[in-house]
């Protein structure tokens, strides 16, 4: 049966990891390639790089980083952050990314999803949605790192992204992100029930039990997390064993 995926996310800028990591076995804590390789050997199911430096120099460094990673890491690699046209998608896929994650640019110009899916296949187009609760039943989409309201309903936007050719949805709860108090289960469930494509839940993981909740109650196909892995508090092998013990089908 199809297994639930655990995906560590690395925030990068200028070819370096920008959020602190704590791994005694790594000499260079800031090298994304070494960290991606470690996570891969630990049993991560995919790796996501989120580049927070969208300047032209930062872009060139990112492409080089993806190339280096592709030589050493043999699990799927998703790359996101500031991608706004098909040429950039092509460059990153050629460098060795398996998928790209597009967010703000897709909201501003939804045709980008269709263009990317037509050119390279839906399987490599991930639409990232940052959503914030605005009422009892509703979540709205925010862009530019969660600062700008897009004036679009999050569930509706997920449906449109699917219709336009997205292969997966990477769904981040702005409310839960950084709290380590658990994923937004209601938001995740609402999007999972609205689309037929896989949903990757993100934002709020503080303990492996949060991953269990979002993969069962939330119905997510995959759970993305950063700090619980980077801090060393819950290494991936222990996390996956915990999930397996809770009856979640994972790759061990």
């Amino acid at each position: 049966m199809l297994l639930k995926r655990i995906i560590p996310c690395l925030d990068t800028a200028r070819g370096r990891v920008v959020k602190g990591t704590h791994f005694q076995q790594l000499r260079d804590q800031g090298d994304p390639v070494a960290l991606a390789r470690l996570y891969s050997e630990d049993g991560a199911d995919e790796i996501t790089f989120l580049d927070i430096d969208a300047t032209p120099e930062g872009r060139a460094t990112l492409v080089e980083l993806v190339e280096r990673t592709a030589h050493e890491v043999f699990i799927p690699l998703t790359v996101g952050g500031g991608i706004h046209d098909v040429d950039e998608i092509r460059t990153l896929l050629r460098a060795g990314a398996d998928k790209v994650s597009i967010q703000t640019a897709a909201v501003q110009r939804p045709e980008l999803i269709t263009e990317g899916a037509r050119a390279f296949g839906s399987q490599c187009i991930v639409v990232a949605i940052d959503a914030k609760r605005v009422s009892k039943e509703g979540w709205m989409v925010f862009t530019h790192g969660g600062r700008t309201p897009a004036g679009v309903d999050a569930v509706g936007w997920a449906i449109e992204a699917q219709r336009r050719g997205a292969g997966e949805i990477l769904l981040t709860s702005i409310d839960a992100d950084g709290t380590r108090a658990g994923y937004d289960l209601d938001l995740t469930r609402a999007v999972v029930d609205a689309v037929q494509i896989p949903v990757i839940a993100s934002g709020g993981a503080g303990h492996p039990k949060d991953l269990v909740a979002v993969l069962t109650q939330g119905g997510a196909d995959a759970a993305l997390a950063a700090s619980i892995f980077h801090s060393g508090a819950f290494p991936i092998p222990e996390t996956k064993r915990y999930l397996a013990g809770q009856g979640i089908p994972v790759r061990l």
């Binding site: 297994l3 043999f74 399987q123 494509i197 196909d221």
Partner: protein, 204 residues
């Protein structure tokens, strides 16, 4: 020397990187001549059947690949590279290479499609390349599956709502629906098995 078939449909680079990790050198084969000299062939693929078949025909690679398989050259088809070995694909109604009897159909499942992620290879039939692979998880990305006319070709099965054939073998030919080049250590092990198998066949 291993030839990686280049017909513009591909994740050639990922396969090349994985072979590099295994210290295997390969050549990129984009002409019939390149294919004719190969000791072993890897036929990768991502994308849709019809444009891939058109690209193969444009380069004369369709006949070259078929001839190599008939000559018993060790051959590994990956994902679309396995599907194209069959006669016909329901994906755009494309006529394929017809090396193996059977068709390619949309997976008749109630589960989500595309089938994306890690899933296990079950009910493995003995084959040197698939040794030790029973129950291992591999990375899949696809909506269509092969339906061999003769069950004897099926060498492994995977379940996504319904069971489907995820590996095929016939003599020196092997095809897998998943991506060994993206499947971590299990995938690298499978590729290594294939390299050993190709060496053994060349020595025989």
């Amino acid at each position: 020397m291993i030839a990686l078939i280049d017909y513009g449909a591909g994740n050639l680079r990922s396969v090349q990187n994985a072979l590099g990790r295994l210290d295997a050198s390969c050549t990129i084969a984009s002409s019939p001549d390149d294919v004719a000299h190969a000791q072993a062939i890897i036929f990768p693929g991502v994308g849709a059947a019809a444009p891939a078949m058109a690209a193969l025909r444009d380069r004369g690679l369709d006949l070259a690949v078929t001839a190599a398989i008939r000559n018993g050259v060790p051959f590994l088809g990956i994902c679309l590279g396995m599907q194209l070995l069959f006669e016909w694909s329901a994906e755009d109604g494309a006529a394929c290479l017809g090396v193996l009897p059977g068709t390619v159909e949309r997976l008749p499942t109630q589960e989500k499609l595309p089938h994306v992620g890690w899933n296990t290879l079950d009910r493995v039939r003995p084959h040197r390349v698939l040794e030790g692979m029973e129950g291992e998880a591999f990375y899949f990305v696809h909506s269509y599956v092969v339906v061999p006319r003769f069950p004897a070709v099926a060498a492994g099965e995977t379940t996504h709502g319904v069971p489907f054939v995820s590996a095929v073998t016939r003599q020196a030919l092997l095809g897998v629906q998943f991506h060994p080049e993206r499947s971590g250590t299990a995938g690298l092990r499978l590729l290594e098995n294939f390299l050993r198998f190709a060496d053994a066949e060349a020595a025989a």
